[in-house]
Amino acid sequence: MRVRLSDLEPGEAAVIEEVALPELEQQVLIRFGFFDGAEVRCSRRAPLGDPIVYSLDGSEVALRTETACRIFASTGERKACEQTR
């Protein structure tokens, strides 16, 4: 199922399919591991609801909702994600 990264519930994992942001913003996000094919898990939300903390490559990175809602991911491969810690 295709969802926005910002719609993931804490604990839910997904594989990024598309980063619908300008190239320069994509360049920044890639450095932190947000690019198509990457496996991401939503760890938690900040106390005020925004930003959202994601866990990927074993580290935790927070994005604002305004950024996360432009990243599309598929939750279909959830099983595979959970196996890769």
């Binding site: 913003e25 760890s43 900040a46 106390p47 609801g49």
Partner: protein
């Protein structure tokens, strides 16, 4: 773990090159600074690269019987010159940085606990063709958290030697010395030249898996701590306690320490006075130079206290959590969560606050923070606030016993400064400092115990930067103001204040400040208080103390006699907005590496102060 894995045999035919300069490069949070401190043993210099705000750290490391210069490059994730930091790194590595020789070798620092991500930087660095040693830092943590890496395979894949080290505990670092002594072969450049960040990232993932990289398990206690510290209720609560403690300590400990230091330095001057002949020389030495030095040193306690906290918060990992909690609120004014602590500490003093803005990676947000910080009501404004409020505002209850007119006036001044800061931030962030291509990304590092060593080094570093690089400007301006108040000489003696150059200047600017309700004496106060805001109280005390009409009354009574109510209110508002602080300007110049921003800031703030004071004076005068 300590061995240096030299996989690619060095070509014996190549003549050995003498290595004099080596560059240290690595992503942010790779422990690069800790490593730099280890390797150089504090023999280092801090400056700014010409024309930009990036700090330049160089140090000296002893290898065998020779000394090698280490250049600590800014933390970067790639060598694509999008950001200022990356441009600096690329220019230094290519030998295109003014006044800096091209490094003959590279030390590439990567966080072993975050290797897949950090390896992206390896491709472009190795592609430069310089002899390179990859240092997998935090090797101790990797092993402790049951992660692993086959360093032999990794060295084979990368075509460069690889060493697993720990900068924090100092293991494996002998590899650096051995590498620098025998590094004669450039890195094998058969790696694909990867210009694209995406390809670098994929390449990194492949290399990591080929070298059997197992990322460490993130410690359960770190996540459990986040369950509390980022909890909907407990999170903000702990946040408020922490920032409250920071503020209270900077204000409640730093301030008294600064005052005590001031008293001590003044007392030393008084003790020394009898040993110097009364006259010009004594005045120059004690009132000019010594007071100037003192005005630099009194900032140190507050700077050190704030940086002690910043060091503890940043090294423990909590600073990132605090930024996460504050981000939602800060985003309303177009800033990000990292601006919160610097702005809060500006309520104590803008000088350490502006220095603390270095924790904000985004250059535009950082500049915006620097530009609005001096609007926050700092403690130097309090003497003139309390003096004028006590003199002109009668105490009457507003909300029962809780809030009186005087407290309300004080509160309004705080709000006024805050509103000016928010308004300026909004204006800057929607115009010249608009962030275009930088989404807010915040890494949450795992919690760690801060080490005494690392926090101590930071204090030393910041203290030195302030005294050496802002101190000179502060000292010069103090001397200039001293000169203006002690010239022209009368028979070899300094004149009375009302006959000095600064008094003439006060009379000269009187026509300009009369519409604000100020007389020439206030004008002199405004001029002398460019050294520091609180100086105006002393200046006015001296001037009114010499005036036969007001000689016998207190300064408060003298002001009541000499100033109108509207003029006094205008003066309060003027001090809320005006940039009456050389030390702040000197620090802004140091942090932005030039006079452009401090000059703009001075004109902007003084312009608003002038306009607001004019409006207040005229409006109140009209209403009466």
């Amino acid at each position: 773990m300590n061995q240096l894995l030299q996989i690619v045999p060095s070509s014996a035919t190549k003549s050995r090159r003498q290595i004099r300069t080596v560059a240290l490069i690595g992503p942010p949070n790779s422990g690069k600074t800790t490593l730099f401190n280890r390797l150089t043993n504090l023999r280092q210099k801090v400056g700014n690269y010409p024309g930009i705000t990036v700090e330049q750290h160089t140090g000296v490391m002893a290898v065998g019987d020779q000394e090698i210069t280490i250049v600590d490059l800014p933390g970067v994730y790639s060598l694509n010159p999008y950001s200022e930091d990356e441009r600096v790194a690329v220019n230094v590595l290519n030998g295109k940085m003014d006044g800096m020789p091209r490094p003959e070798a590279v030390l590439l620092v990567l966080d072993a606990t975050n290797l897949t991500r950090h390896l992206s930087l390896a491709a472009p660095v190795i592609a430069l063709g310089l002899p390179t040693l990859a240092l997998l830092n935090m090797g101790d943590l990797l092993a402790k958290r049951s992660g692993s890496i086959d360093a032999v395979k990794l060295a084979g894949d990368l075509g460069i030697p690889v060493a697993i080290v720990s900068a924090t505990i100092g293991t494996g670092l002998d590899a650096v010395g051995r590498f620098l002594q025998q590094a004669d072969s450039p890195a094998r450049t058969t790696l694909p030249i990867l210009q694209d960040v995406r390809e670098c990232r994929r390449w990194a993932a492949r290399v990591a898996s080929e070298s059997d990289y197992r990322p460490p398990l993130s410690p359960a206690w770190s996540r459990r701590l986040d369950d509390i510290l980022l909890h909907k209720v407990w999170g903000p609560l702990v946040f408020m306690i922490v920032v409250g403690a920071v503020f209270q300590t900077v204000f409640g400990l730093g301030q008294p320490l600064s005052n005590a230091l001031q008293d001590l330095l003044t007392e030393m001057a008084q003790k020394a006075a009898p040993f110097i002949a009364n006259g010009f020389l004594r005045s120059l030495l004690l009132d000019g130079i010594w007071k100037g030095v003192a005005s630099v040193l009194v900032f140190l306690p507050q700077i050190l206290v704030l940086f002690l906290f910043i060091g503890l918060l940043e090294d423990s990992g909590y600073l990132a959590r605090a930024a996460l909690i504050a981000d939602r609120t800060m985003s309303f004014v177009g800033l990000n969560g990292k601006a919160f602590i610097p702005l809060l500490s500006a309520y104590a003093c803008a000088v350490p606050a502006i220095m603390a803005s270095r924790t904000i990676e985004n250059k535009r947000d950082r500049l915006a923070t620097i530009l609005i910080a001096p609007f926050m009501t700092c403690s130097a404004r309090l003497p003139i606030y309390t003096l004028l409020i006590a003199a002109f505002i009668p105490e009457r209850p507003v909300v029962g016993v809780f809030l009186g007119t005087r407290a309300l006036a004080m509160l309004l001044l705080y709000v006024l400064g805050f509103v000016a800061a928010i308004g300026t931030a909004k204006m800057l962030k929607s115009s010249v400092l608009k962030s275009t291509s930088a989404p807010f990304v915040l890494e949450l590092p795992e919690y760690r115990w801060p080490t005494l060593r690392s926090v101590g080094l930071r204090l030393l570093d910041r203290g030195r930067v302030f005294v050496q690089q802002a101190g000179t400007v502060i000292l010069l301006v103090s001397l200039l103001v001293w000169g203006l108040t002690n010239l022209p000489l009368h028979q070899g003696h300094p004149p009375a204040l009302e006959d000095s150059v600064v008094a003439h200047l006060g009379h000269f600017i009187e026509p300009a400040i009369r519409p604000l309700g100020f007389n020439w004496k206030i004008g002199v106060g405004l001029l002398t208080s460019v050294v520091a805001r609180e100086v105006i109280v002393g200046t006015l005390g001296t001037l009114y103390g010499r005036d036969p009409q007001t000689r016998s009354v207190s300064l408060q009574a003298a002001l009541q006699h000499d100033l109108t109510f509207s003029g006094a209110m205008a003066l309060l508002v003027f001090f809320t907005f005006a940039m009456q602080c050389t030390s702040t300007l000197a620090v802004v110049r140091r942090e932005t590496n030039g006079w452009k921003w401090p000059v703009i800031q001075f004109i902007y703030m003084t312009g608003i102060a002038f306009l607001a004071a004019y409006i207040v004076n005229q409006t109140i005068a009209l209403l009466k």
